[in-house]
Symmetry: C2
Subunit: 92 residues, 2 copies
């Protein structure tokens, strides 16, 4: 039996890393009159589905996927939520 999970993944810059894009957005917003906007940090939000035998295996695979493909562990953190969306029988 295989289970299908929806993963909601957040990849954010580590707090110690400068965010030039965030600084640019903040500066633009100030020019538009939003003077009280601060601490702008821009990250990635990724959704995907993964089919696994269980949640433990899905989480292990997602850790690897984030470390190797979605995030740069030197400068970024990641976290994800898993939601089971389907349980399926049969061969994939």
């Amino acid at each position: 039996m295989q289970r299908k999970y929806l993963a909601k993944i957040h990849v954010t810059l580590r707090p110690s890393v400068l965010d030039p894009a965030g600084v640019a957005v903040q500066s633009g917003l100030k020019q538009m009159g939003y003077e009280t906007v601060e601490n702008v940090r821009i990250g990635k939000y990724i959704e995907l589905t993964i089919i696994s035998q269980d949640e433990t295996k899905a989480r292990r695979d997602l850790d690897n996927i984030c470390d190797q493909m979605l995030a740069n562990p030197v400068i970024e953190n990641y976290r994800f939520d898993l939601i089971e969306v389907e349980t399926q029988t049969g061969v994939f």
Copy 2:
């Protein structure tokens, strides 16, 4: 009195819009052996703080900020959560 809010903003491609970056990530993951990963969609996740007189005003400003700066309303949706982090008196 002014209140400080932390906004957590998700900007995602509308479901009808093709996501070439998501397709590329999915293809890369397949080559790495993650055959069951599908429906990869890549969006943005933005955090910022904003000081406002109340939550209604903060939400109105954030709607404008998302429409004008953070999202392209033609191809992207956005949503945000607001968390009050501080209440301050005095002049800003």
